[in-house]
Symmetry: C2
Subunit: 408 residues, 2 copies
């Protein structure tokens, strides 16, 4: 579990705000839901999912004897919400959310991982322009954090295309599902292990070479990639070995990876998503096609710190002006002046600590405050205040109305 002390909470808020601003610039509307969902929502997709729910989620029985789960992903929730109001909603929808998600780590059983994720979906459009738009949005999000297009690559694949290819070389439906899952773990296991697993799927092994050749040959130019290039987004690559974990994807799938200094993709996945066609069907509604992606906060934050892309302003407290009473006797007057100066749309804090005035000045400067006002007996008697600019040591002395004019 993570605690967010102010210095971490500021970075977290900066990430959330950049996510929200970017999604809204594409006309996406925010939605939200409770973190608790009926467990049935995740089990509906089949037996394999039941295993996932039991092993990888936080599931328990509430007092009403209902089995509930702390949501591990947001897509089932949006599908549930869309299905519930399908007749009223005007399609296509562009919706985004910034949920916290909960998963058990396989490696460390009993350890719960909570993380936040930007989730963006276009629901109700199966036109290829939606695929292009959602990937353009994913790309723009990374750009808006200050990453340049040579620092990450977007890998794209197409589940439908892969299915046709696998069928063409003779694989059956079960083999295709197993192979897709194996490919999803391909970068996490050794090549020897990969070949062993592959051999189990193909049974006699005669297709293994062909499959490996097929996956490694990634020279297709798909319409999605051509479209993205039209929009000036060229850091994309078609990668037939890209698999993505969820079974519900039916068409375009994509994932973005950070590049190392030599321009090679690292294993660090920054975001991932794809097209799904049948999710609302689970709720006995007519099928609505959608495409979306999720982008986690943990890998992103690590990358931003590594590349020194957290803005300086985010590292500071954000207080503009500190009022420093000489002694506790001036505390109430300090509050009064603070209240007055806040009408200038400033963040104004009174320093109520019992430290020395010099120490208070140092702290104000260190925390990034721009102004300070020291308040002693004489300031209160005369009504004249001295506003000190901590950035350039300028001083302005005057009555409160003059100080307000200076601050505006």
């Amino acid at each position: 579990m993570r605690d967010f002390y102010p210095e971490d909470a500021r970075i977290q808020q900066y990430i959330f705000e950049t996510w929200a601003r970017t999604a809204e610039s594409f006309g996406f509307e925010r939605y939200d839901a409770s973190i608790l969902e009926p467990s049935a929502l995740y089990k509906a997709k089949g037996a394999e999912n039941e295993e996932m729910v039991n092993e990888q989620t936080y599931t328990f029985t509430d007092r009403g004897d209902r089995e509930v789960t702390l949501r591990p992903e947001m897509t089932p929730t949006i599908a549930r919400m869309v299905a519930a109001k399908q007749r009223e909603l005007s399609l296509p929808l562009r919706w985004y959310s910034i949920p916290n998600l909960f998963r058990y780590e396989r490696q460390q059983k009993g350890r719960l991982r909570e993380h936040w994720q930007l989730n963006c979906d276009i629901f109700g459009s199966d036109h290829i322009t939606s695929d292009i738009e959602i990937i353009a949005l994913a790309n723009q999000t990374l750009i808006n954090f200050g990453l340049s297009s040579d620092q990450f690559v977007i890998s794209i694949n197409d589940r439908a295309l892969m299915e046709r290819m696998y069928k063409a070389i003779g694989l059956n439906q079960n083999q295709i599902i197993d192979l897709t899952r194996l490919n999803d773990r391909r970068n996490k296991i050794s090549f020897t292990d990969y070949k062993t697993q592959l051999n189990k799927i193909t049974n006699d092994g005669t297709l293994d070479e062909e499959i490996i050749l097929l996956l490694d040959k990634s020279d297709e130019q798909t319409d999605v990639i051509i479209g993205l290039e039209e929009l000036g987004i060229t850091n994309v690559t078609f990668d037939k070995s890209l698999a993505r974990g969820f079974d519900y994807y039916t068409g375009t799938i994509f994932e973005a990876f950070a590049l190392d200094d030599e321009g090679k993709p690292t294993g660090r996945s920054l975001l991932g998503g794809g097209r799904y066609d049948d999710l609302t069907k689970l709720f006995n509604q007519e099928s609505v096609s959608g495409i979306g992606f999720g982008m986690g906060d943990v890998t992103l934050k690590d990358l931003l710190v590594e590349k020194d892309l957290i803005p300086k302003s985010v590292k500071q407290t954000g207080t503009d002006l500190i009022i420093i009473p000489m002694s506790a006797e001036q505390n109430l007057e300090a509050q009064k002046i603070a209240l007055e100066l806040r009408t200038c749309q400033l963040s104004v804090m009174t320093d109520l600590s019992t430290r020395k005035v010099a120490k208070k000045f140092n702290d104000a400067t260190k925390n990034g405050a721009k102004y300070a006002i020291v308040l002693g007996k004489s300031e209160i008697e005369t009504g004249k205040l001295t506003l000190k600019n901590l950035h350039n040591d300028d001083e302005t002395t005057g009555y409160i109305e003059q100080i307000k004019l200076k601050l505006k």
Copy 2:
């Protein structure tokens, strides 16, 4: 459990942003923590709390055999966080958070209530100016939502003062605790029930009259109220019958109530808080005094809706410009133009629906968009676009660079 469809999520975000903006204008820093806490955190405060944890919270055992609780309030969490870093943190702290909290409703067992709350605390200052500042902040929050000071009242009491008064008329410590709890429910039960309960506490009933007289006589002028009046905050009243539920309060306690049209307090509590002295002691740290309040989203939202104080802009989607392709053939070009126009700091959406152009125009206007551009074959051939201002029907025709100039 609540789902937030976009129209509700916008109001929710408006509330969160107003909360955050106001707290930050007072120099408060944001913090956050996981919604899951060890149950021991809430049981630590005594047997009465153990009952509260078992009956009113969402508590269960995780796979590591630890008992965990979905947090019902934020104060224990901030006390835990402060205690963990007490030596590093520079006191006093001004911290705020906007957590979601979970409670079972007593009336409807098995029904879980999730709500959000603004939590503001000043930790490490026992000076009376902190009491005044935190109440001034609570007041300013309501003002910043557009409420006027004749629409709510802040009731103030003092636990320490009440304890002295109760002792003076002969009550012992247990009777004081029971009476405080009874007073907390005073507005929720009938006067007859109140008197019956009171009689049980005082045993022989000789003190009942005296207690009722004492509670109803609320003419004290405390330093907190005098200080608030100095700051121009006069919609405050001293109310000896104010009790507040939590046992941990030790000094000033306060609560704000909406007023009805005749200026009488309604039962609708908008926020509540108080001073606590010993919370960090529970974590074997030296005692740090703090004062804070919590303000829930549900009652607030209902009041804002009733008083028609939700700004019009919050009711609309926030998209500035809609690009309407005449047919799907222009979809990609629409994306390209949208990407270009977003550099003007605008929210730009392409309408990918298959509805008629006239319908798309109507929807754009209804959703509050300011501009629309219709994109057909001729626009793409000539490169000349027509920007229509939907608010005043003005039109501007030109190449994209000219449109961008117009939009900037």
